[in-house]
């Protein structure tokens, strides 16, 4: 299908798990684990979908999100935020900055898949 997703996440086990389930759903998964350099990867890959962790080494997921929304190419790309800090104000902030989805860890694989499919078709 040629659909690509970039996963920006710093926890190796979570990268492995998400990569596994999205690959099996037919996605091409690129991963990046550092906040400071994530934008470069995103520009290069220009994915159909971005999964973005909030707590990253270096720049945070929120910083990257606002960069994406201000970026000429990436602005329209759906972004699903992932976070282990399940606080309401984080969700609000993500939606303000233009996130398409906000998902709190831990999540079930089917939840992730449903959300990804929905974002891809919209």
């Amino acid at each position: 299908m040629g659909k690509t997703v970039v996963l920006v996440e710093d926890e190796p086990n979570i990268i492995e798990a998400i990569s596994f389930i999205l690959s099996r759903d037919g996605w091409t998964v690129h991963t990046h684990s550092n906040g400071d350099t994530a934008m470069a990867t995103l520009e290069v890959r220009a994915p159909n979908l971005i999964l973005l962790d909030v707590m990253l080494p270096g720049r945070s997921g929120f910083d990257i999100l606002s960069d994406i929304r201000g970026h000429a190419v990436l602005a329209q790309t759906p972004v699903m935020m992932l976070t282990a800090r399940g606080q309401t104000k984080d969700r609000e902030r993500a939606m303000e900055l233009g996130a398409s989805r906000f998902m709190t860890k831990p999540f079930s694989n089917s939840e992730v898949l449903d959300a990804v499919r929905e974002l891809a078709t919209s």
Binding site: E11, N13, I14
Partner: protein, 871 residues
């Protein structure tokens, strides 16, 4: 005779008090005290000597009564508002209640009135001798002895009737009544003589007019300067004569009486003067050349054999004299007693015996002695001046003396800029000139001043000649004296007033008196009452607020049966209002404010001091409030700081919970994801399956360790754990730690075990936990190719130091600051735990009275643990 009049007067006073006393007729009649024996006898003499000039004496008062009624009204109003007892009281009150001024005026008044009293004595003595000469027992009436006995009688009479009671307002209803009666007596007597002269002797109106045309009086030339001077003098004296002030102002019961008196009194004067000229002309024609013209009124009926008429005439003259002496003595004694005797007495006794009865007796006694003193001063003057002068001339000396008060009086009433110094200067200058140019020369040459001084001036200085001051020669002595004294008086008053500054008390009194109509009620009670109530309401609204003030006023008004907001200012209402206002502004201020508006009481110095006290109290109160508010500000700041601390703690707690959440959810995410993969995914390879299972396992271990650390830290932080203190060898503890952590990794441990042989007293297991943590950190984070950890022990000053130094890159300055904080994992190393290890170490060492710190400048990462230690 004296006592007949006395009894008559007393009876009349008693009987008439209820009905008559408050009538304007009585007031008008009492004003006739202006017409003394001088009028009764002297006017005829004056006319016989100087023609129509005698009229000036009555034109002055008439002009004042008609043209200056507004001045009189103001005088009366001030007198009421300030409770004035005499002209000295008024002027001293106006100029800041100056007693110096009061004393000066009293002395001047006594000096000025003395010739006048002498005049009365002289006239009574003359009439006695004339009357007695015609009677059966003519012998035995030496004129000096007569004068003495007359003086004694008058003094006694005045003491009896003038000091009968001590009234706060110095009103003497009985005396006023007696004077009014005497006024009627003298008018009737003079009219009767006049009628007798015209129709009985002169043969009717026509022939008498012809006689007048033929007499010297008709040919008498009018001297304009004397006329002007005399009219001005009599007008001034009408206002300033102590006795006139007494009846005009002090004895006034009702301002509205003035309106009646304004036309009634001039009418009285007209009637009195009606027959003066006929009597003078007829007297000159029928009486021998040597007869004293001053006695025509008496001698004409005597010569004509009309004994009854002569008796009436004598009575009239006697009435005129006595009424003048009585009122003058009362007025002067009030002044002498209030301004001279009482201040001295109070100073001498220190005001200690201020029991009301005592004081009353002292006052009465001083009044009585003052009266006797005043009357006998008149007698002395009479004796010294020789009793030969014409009555009118003596009267004018007196007029000129008291008219010196006029500039200060009028200036005080109408000019706010007038000052005490100005008044003093004017009065002194006028008084001195009057004494020099008029009073002393009036005794005649060589009596008080030698003929030489009169002719050439003292020490030959012509400019100071008593009757030609500053080289002004050729003026009539009277005009000369009046001109100089009043002019220089006024000039000094104005100039010194302009040059000096009034004291606060003067300003206050000046404002009270000059603007008396703004401060006090008018004569018409109801209008004044409403106006006052309106002012009171305005003031009350400003102080207690509109709603409360209007509520109070309407309530009182309805209690009084009135509609609207304006009740009558009754004493009850004023007291109520004062109390109401006192709640807001203090009692003294409230009293002063209400007093200002209703003119009920002047603002006294005591009031002002009380007001100042209240202001001081309010200031103190407000400074207390200021302190309080500063205290509140301090408290608020402390609260704000506490709140900031709490907020900071709350932020820390939020951050901590958020961190915990993250640390817990992250491994759980992996566990959940891989367990679902294992469950749901078909066709996983065996390798994948075992890989995913071991991830689940390791993440579970991570979770468990995290929970253990959290609990451990929580227990340590809350101080709920008890340290298990025991003795042990440091080397054994380090061996255990190295065995637990050091053997897992590749870091080689360098130790000098011979140095570690000291016995320590501590919780050995907890200490071991700290050591394990530090060794494990080195295992995890040391980046050197051949990692090495040196453990070095030293002891110094009762403390034991164990340093853990690796050969890695060390940590940055910024990271050193946070390395002991919870969850402060450094860099992006995935190997780390939850970031609680060093935080736990710090807590443990604190509990063991030791420390753990980062040791900078050692090349690699270096931590130093210290413990208390005894050799």
């Amino acid at each position: 005779m004296l006592f007949v009049v006395a009894f008559l007067a007393e009876r009349a006073a008693k009987r008439g008090r209820a009905r008559w006393l408050n009538s304007p007729i009585i007031y008008t009649l009492s004003l006739s005290v202006y017409c003394t024996a001088w009028t009764f006898y002297g006017a005829v003499g004056f006319a016989a000597r100087s023609g129509l000039e005698y009229l000036t004496i009555y034109i002055g008062p008439t002009l004042v009564m008609i043209g200056w009624w507004w001045v009189l009204r103001k005088l009366v109003r001030v007198g009421r508002a300030q409770r004035i007892t005499s002209i000295a009281d008024l002027i001293s009150n106006r100029f800041g209640k100056s007693n110096t001024l009061a004393v000066l005026i009293t002395l001047m008044a006594v000096a000025g009135t003395t010739p006048y009293i002498a005049l009365q004595l002289q006239s009574v003595t003359l009439s006695f001798s004339a009357f007695a000469a015609a009677g059966p027992n003519a012998e035995g009436f030496g004129s000096a002895a007569t004068a003495f006995w007359v003086a004694t009688g008058l003094a006694l009479f005045t003491v009896l009737f003038g000091t009968r009671n001590l009234d706060v307002n110095e009103r003497h209803h009985g005396v006023v009544m007696a004077i009014a009666l005497e006024a009627v007596v003298k008018l009737i007597a003079l009219l009767a003589v006049g009628v007798f002269v015209v129709w009985g002797l002169g043969g009717g109106l026509g022939p008498v007019i012809e006689q007048i045309e033929a007499s010297e009086i008709a040919e008498w030339e009018i001297a304009p300067s004397r006329w002007v001077a005399l009219i001005a003098l009599s007008a001034a004296a009408f206002l300033t004569l102590p006795r006139m002030f007494q009846v005009l102002v002090v004895e006034n019961d009702d301002e509205r009486h003035l309106r009646f008196a304004a036309w009634a009194f001039p009418t009285y004067l007209l009637l009195i003067n009606l027959f003066i000229v006929p009597i003078a002309v007829v007297g000159q024609n029928i009486l021998p050349e040597a007869t004293n013209p001053d006695l025509y009124v008496l001698s004409v009926p005597l010569v004509s054999g009309e004994a009854g008429l002569a008796t009436l005439s004598f009575l009239g003259g006697f009435s005129s004299a006595t009424s003048m002496v009585i009122v003058a003595a009362i007025a002067l004694s009030t002044m002498v007693s209030n301004h001279i005797v009482m201040p001295i007495w109070l100073r001498v006794t220190g005001g200690g015996a201020l029991v009301s009865g005592d004081l009353r007796n002292v006052v009465l006694l001083s009044r009585r002695f003052s009266i006797i003193g005043v009357v006998f001063l008149g007698y002395v003057y009479y004796r010294i001046s020789g009793g030969g002068a014409a009555l009118a001339a003596i009267g004018l000396v007196s007029f000129a003396g008291v008219s010196q008060f006029l500039p200060a009086l009028l200036g005080g009433l109408f000019w706010r800029g007038a000052t005490r110094s100005g008044a003093l200067a004017g009065l002194l200058v006028g008084f001195v000139i009057w004494l020099w140019a008029m009073f002393l020369p009036s005794f005649g040459p060589d009596a008080a001043l030698s003929a030489d001084v009169l002719a050439h001036g003292p020490w030959g200085i012509a400019a100071l000649k008593p009757q030609a001051l500053f080289g002004f020669v050729g003026l009539d002595p009277l005009v000369h004296a009046v001109f100089w004294s009043l002019t220089l008086n006024t000039v000094s008053f104005v100039v010194v007033s302009l040059a000096s500054f009034p004291s606060p008390m003067e300003r206050l009194q000046g404002a009270q008196i000059v603007d008396v109509f703004k401060h006090s009620s008018s004569g018409q009670r109801w209008r004044g009452g409403m106006a006052q109530s309106e002012d009171l309401l305005l003031m009350a609204q400003r102080i207690v607020g509109a709603t409360q003030a209007q509520g109070l006023f309407r309530r009182v008004a309805s209690e009084q049966g009135l509609e609207g907001y304006l009740p009558e200012p009754t004493p009850e209402f004023l007291n109520l209002l004062e109390r109401e206002l006192a709640g807001s502004v203090g009692a003294a201020t409230a009293h002063a404010m209400v007093g200002q508006i209703v003119g009920r009481a002047a603002v006294s110095v005591d009031d002002l001091i009380a007001v100042a006290d209240e202001a001081a109290q309010i200031m103190e109160y407000s400074s207390q409030l200021e302190e309080k508010s500063e205290e509140l500000i301090r408290t608020a700041r402390q609260l704000r700081e506490a709140n900031e601390k709490l907020t900071e703690l709350s932020h820390q707690k939020d951050a901590f919970l958020s961190q915990i959440s993250h640390e817990l959810r992250t491994p759980m995410t992996s566990i959940r994801a891989f367990s679902e993969i294992l469950r749901d995914s078909d066709g996983l390879s065996g390798d994948d399956q075992s890989k995913y299972s071991s991830i689940i396992n390791s993440e579970s271990v991570r979770l468990t360790r995290l929970l253990d650390d959290l609990l451990d830290l929580s227990v340590l932080e809350n101080g709920q754990v008890s340290m298990n203190l025991e003795d042990g060898l440091l080397v054994d503890v380090l061996d255990r730690a190295v065995a637990a952590a050091g053997l897992i990794g590749k870091v080689s441990i360098v130790r000098r075990r011979e140095r570690e042989q000291m016995v320590i007293h501590t919780d050995l297991d907890r200490l071991c936990q700290v050591f394990i943590n530090l060794i494990a950190n080195a295992q995890k984070y040391c980046e050197a190719l051949e990692p090495e950890l040196k453990i070095m022990t030293s002891a110094k000053d009762g403390r034991l130091y164990i340093d853990f130094i690796d050969n890695g890159l060390g940590i940055s300055r910024d990271e050193q600051l946070v390395v002991f904080e919870k969850f402060s994992r450094l860099g992006d190393d995935r190997e780390s735990g939850a970031g609680l290890g060093l935080a736990i170490c710090r807590e443990v060492m604190q509990r063991l009275d030791g420390t753990i710190s980062y040791l900078p400048g050692q090349g690699g990462t270096a931590f130093r643990v210290s413990l208390p230690f005894e050799d």
